[in-house]
């Protein structure tokens, strides 16, 4: 098949990626590309047990330690805590090792050979403790929530059909292609500057200030070009920056800490594994009348961001469906495994997988099309969510469902696959490869949960400099998703100037304000909104002074009045209120909506799945840049396909067994489906440009769509992710075995 030759997009709607030429010529500077003369190399000594008492860090007396530096917990000037939600995670183990690959000591040396020699002469003396590895057996709860709406007992009393399921999803590695990396450079004022691959400069800034007892100015965080994040560089860079900074402080020189892939997979955060138990009740006239959901997330050894990951997972667990009687109970528990953290979707992919499995299984039980069932139940304007949030505007569940279903010809393909399945069941030769189509629908809250945005109190700024330049000042980072392109677009539009006139200041805490973290699909919506607000004020100030249009007068205004800088502070969106203690109110200022339809081929002999195509319809509020927006949907969709089919971490005694890229597999170009993206625009009225988030939406729908397609092909439901060949074959054999047993002795199954 010959590919249709694509035509490049129109430049005015889709300006070229700002930092694209640098990336395409190999001149963009990622952390490992930065040169600091005289820099030493740092390495982390890590635990090799899941749980143990640390008795001693022994330095071999036969080794000449004067040529290197070693840092242990005793050398930390301030609190031995990685700043996060709870004060539980040490920078270096002082007493108890709580997970495999936990940092215990640090070594730096002027060259790599000496560093390896030194590391080989460090021994951790420990005494083993009994680890907790099963989340269901854990007694330590980091966070728990309960959301109740209506009366769950009455709901089930009204139900004539009850479908119950338990769904288990495992770890997923972010697998940005650039590993975590940080370089710390001592500052003349006794502080430290870190250059690193990171999403959230001010998270790192706060962690450095707190534990190294530095002033605002002494702690300086500079983002290098960042080779992918996906949440994996949200909180982890804080501990890595602390390590590099401690070593730099000890040796008085720049210290490079560049993880290799093995260390990155073994030690850094993953998507939380979860066990979701789900009971849904449907009335005789086909209404969804009850949802009773219990969620257990495995946080790993430390709290990290688990309370907010769990919160988002809990709030999304019902799926985008109106239901009068809902109970959602959830907890995030400790195990002696490496801590889990942020990953695109942030708790929602786990629970929405379960929600969509339930809806698809109910559709099967009712012999209704999965699309038709969703059309009956999905949220429409005016509906109320389990927290009591009334969905007033920007509700596009029906539109994304219809757009995806029509583009994929869902019902027509489904008739064909049903006929093929009937042929196989009837003994006809249906072939050994079965084709299937599956559908999923999801919602995703844009921005921080609840009152999170109020607490963040983000600032974004625009400055007309004294020499007449327009400069964007924001802590929001570029990691491939397009911040450095869409912000200049928004600013150029708001000021009425060409985009080429707008500069973007580096993400350096010495230069830019705290715009909050670059996470939670909040950058385009929240920070983009602040940026437009700042521009409108700047434009008004200049036009008032000059009496002419901004574009014609700003250079003269700068000459006459010097620099003008506008700092725009976050103000709560009108009418959006949430009570963190009762979990009632508007959980998110707005939701994005997504539907995905996957087609798969399943080899019935081997259980292997090939995902052939995905049609994805995503409502992003307003499309700022169609090419970048599509890129988000396509990339997120493939990560979801990997989550559904091949991505799996295997553990043994709390250690990740497949902690290499040769053994943790992600989809290649040959594994990837053709992805068709449909961008839907249901604008959010709380921001001037109407944009909602986009980054996470596609992650919520891909996996349940693929598993539904596998069911359509094979007739079996796979309840646990990934839907690996082993699981698919086991399910087929279990069904065929049960069928054979029925044929032999129907009474035996009664």
């Amino acid at each position: 098949m010959t590919l249709r030759t694509p035509s490049p997009p129109a430049i005015d709607r889709a300006p070229l990626r700002r930092e694209g030429p640098a990336k395409l010529t190999g001149t963009a500077l990622y952390t490992d590309d930065l040169v600091f003369p005289g820099a030493w190399y740092g390495q982390t000594i890590r635990s090799t047990e899941a749980r143990a008492r640390l008795l001693d860090v022994e330095l071999d007396p036969a080794f000449d330690w004067s040529r290197v530096v070693v840092v242990t917990a005793a050398d930390i000037p301030g609190p031995n805590i990685v700043n996060s939600i709870q004060d539980d995670q040490p920078i270096l183990v002082a007493d108890e090792i709580r997970h495999h690959a936990e940092p215990v000591a640090l070594v730096a040396a002027p060259d790599r050979t000496l560093l390896q020699e030194a590391v080989a002469h460090v021994t951790l003396r420990t005494s083993p403790l009994q680890p907790v590895l099963d989340p269901l057996a854990s007694g330590q709860v980091f966070a728990h929530y309960e959301i109740v709406a209506g009366d769950i007992e009455r709901g089930f009393a009204e139900a004539s059909l009850v479908i119950q399921g338990e769904y288990r999803v495992g770890h997923q590695e972010q697998l940005y292609i650039e590993n975590n990396a940080m370089i710390a450079v001592p500052r003349a004022d006794g502080g430290v500057a870190v250059h690193g691959s990171l999403q959230c400069p001010y998270y790192v800034h706060k962690a450095l200030r707190r534990s190294l007892l530095l002033s605002d100015a002494q702690a300086q965080v500079i983002q290098a070009e960042t080779g992918g994040g996906f949440g994996g560089k949200e909180e982890y860079p804080s501990i890595l920056a602390l390590h590099a900074a401690l070593l730099a402080r000890a040796c008085g020189r720049p210290v490079r800490m560049i993880y290799d892939r093995h260390e990155d997979i073994a030690a850094t955060t993953k998507r939380h594994p979860a066990i979701v138990t789900y009971r849904s009740g449907v009335s005789a006239d086909g209404r969804l009348v009850a949802q009773d959901i219990e969620i257990v997330m495995d946080a790993g050894a430390y709290c990290t961001l688990s309370p907010v990951v769990l919160s988002r997972g809990t709030l999304h667990a019902g799926g985008p469906y109106a239901c009068p009687n809902v109970r959602i109970r959830s907890r995030a528990v400790a195990t002696n495994t490496p801590p889990n953290g942020a990953f695109r979707g942030f708790g929602a992919p786990q629970t929405e997988f379960a929600a969509e499995m339930q809806v698809n299984r109910i559709a099967e039980a009712l012999s209704v099309s999965p699309r038709e069932l969703r059309r009956r139940w999905l949220y429409r304007p005016g509906d109320t969510t389990p927290t009591g949030q009334v969905l007033r505007d920007s509700v596009a569940a029906e539109e994304v469902l219809d757009r995806a279903a029509e583009a994929a010809e869902f019902e027509r393909v489904r008739e064909r696959t049903a006929a093929a399945r009937a042929g196989r069941d009837g003994g006809g030769d249906g072939g050994h490869v079965a084709h299937g189509i599956g559908l999923a629908l999801a919602w995703h809250g844009a921005g921080f949960t609840g009152s999170g945005e109020v607490h963040l109190a983000s600032v974004a700024s625009v400055e007309l400099t004294g020499d007449g330049r327009i400069v964007i000042l924001t802590g929001s980072t570029e990691m491939g998703q397009g911040t450095k392109t869409i912000f200049p677009q928004l600013v150029a539009e708001a000021l009425g100037v060409p985009m080429a006139s707008v500069e973007f200041a580096p993400q350096d805490t010495a230069l830019v304000p705290d715009s909050g973290p670059t996470v939670a699909s909040r950058t385009a919506m929240v920070v983009g909104g602040l940026m437009i607000g700042a521009c409108r004020r700047l434009r008004a100030v200049v036009e008032e002074r000059s009496g002419g249009p901004f574009v014609d007068t700003y250079r003269g205004d700068a000459r006459d009045h010097g620099a003008t800088r506008i700092d725009e502070h976050f103000e709560p969106y009108p009418g959006v209120e949430f009570d963190d203690t009762t979990y009632r109110g508007d959980a998110y200022p707005a939701f994005g909506w997504a539907s995905a339809i996957a087609e798969v081929d399943v080899d019935l002999d081997t259980g292997e799945v090939a995902v052939r195509s995905v049609v994805a319809a995503d409502d992003v509020g307003r499309v700022i840049h169609p090419v970048l927006a599509e890129g988000q949907v396509e990339g997120g969709t493939l990560q979801a396909v990997g989550y559904a089919t091949i991505e799996e971490i295997k553990l043994h005694d709390g250690r990740y067994l497949n902690d290499r890229l040769a053994t943790y597999l992600i989809p290649t170009a040959l594994d990837a489906p053709r992805i068709e993206t449909i961008l839907v625009e249901a604008p959010f009225g709380g921001v001037p440009h109407g944009a909602k988030g986009i980054g996470e939406l596609p992650m919520d729908v891909g996996a349940p769509a693929v598993v539904a397609a596998i069911h359509d092909a094979t007739g079996v439901w796979i309840h646990d992710l990934p839907a690996s060949p082993e699981r698919i074959l086991a399910a087929i054999h279990a069904r065929d075995g049960a069928a054979a047993a029925v044929a032999i002795d129907p009474g035996s199954l009664r």
């Binding site: 030759t5 963009a28 292609i177 290499r660």
Partner: protein, 168 residues
């Protein structure tokens, strides 16, 4: 040992251990930091360069094996080479690089140099630019951002433009 080879047509002579990885020689000895390391074991393709026109993972190639051969890296692609004083501009790019820029084939950019080299080798092979052929050509290069869709579009666009007579 002394090794002599060319990088982007420039002759290079180095006295280095023969087992030193070509990747380290490029990045650290020659300062060609465009080539990236993603896994160090030949799985991700971020370090892809061309050795006598063939796609290789430079993390798996001992520099001793390069003696007498020609290496091409991402730095050798642009029509006009950018510098610290003159950052890269769209006008500098060759046909494939420009196609990546226009279609959105580069997001975070870390797989991009390797992906471009695999794409260049594919274009040079003269094979018809079908969807499947392009996927096969870049199957050794992992990308986590794009879902590959726009990378495939970029290579197809570059192939079409070369067929239409674009030279660089």
């Amino acid at each position: 040992m002394t090794v002599r080879f060319t990088v982007n047509d420039d002759p290079v002579e180095l006295n280095v251990p023969g087992m030193r990885r070509l990747l380290d020689v490029l990045r650290e000895d020659l300062g060609l930091i465009g080539t990236k390391e993603g896994c160090g074991e030949g799985e991700c393709g971020a370090c892809t360069v061309l050795l006598d026109g063939a796609v290789v993972d430079s993390c798996l190639v001992p520099v001793g094996q390069v003696d007498g051969h020609a290496v091409r890296t991402v730095e050798g692609l642009a029509r006009r080479r950018p510098s610290a004083e003159r950052p890269a501009m769209p006008d500098d790019l060759n046909v494939l690089q420009m196609a990546f820029l226009e279609t959105g084939g580069a997001q975070c950019g870390i797989c991009t140099p390797g992906m471009l080299m695999a794409g260049e080798a594919f274009l040079a092979s003269g094979r018809p630019a079908t969807d499947h052929a392009i996927r096969e050509a870049i199957a050794g290069n992992l990308c986590r951002c794009t879902g590959y869709t726009k990378i495939i579009e970029a290579i197809a666009l570059a192939a079409a433009r070369r067929d239409a007579g674009a030279t660089q």
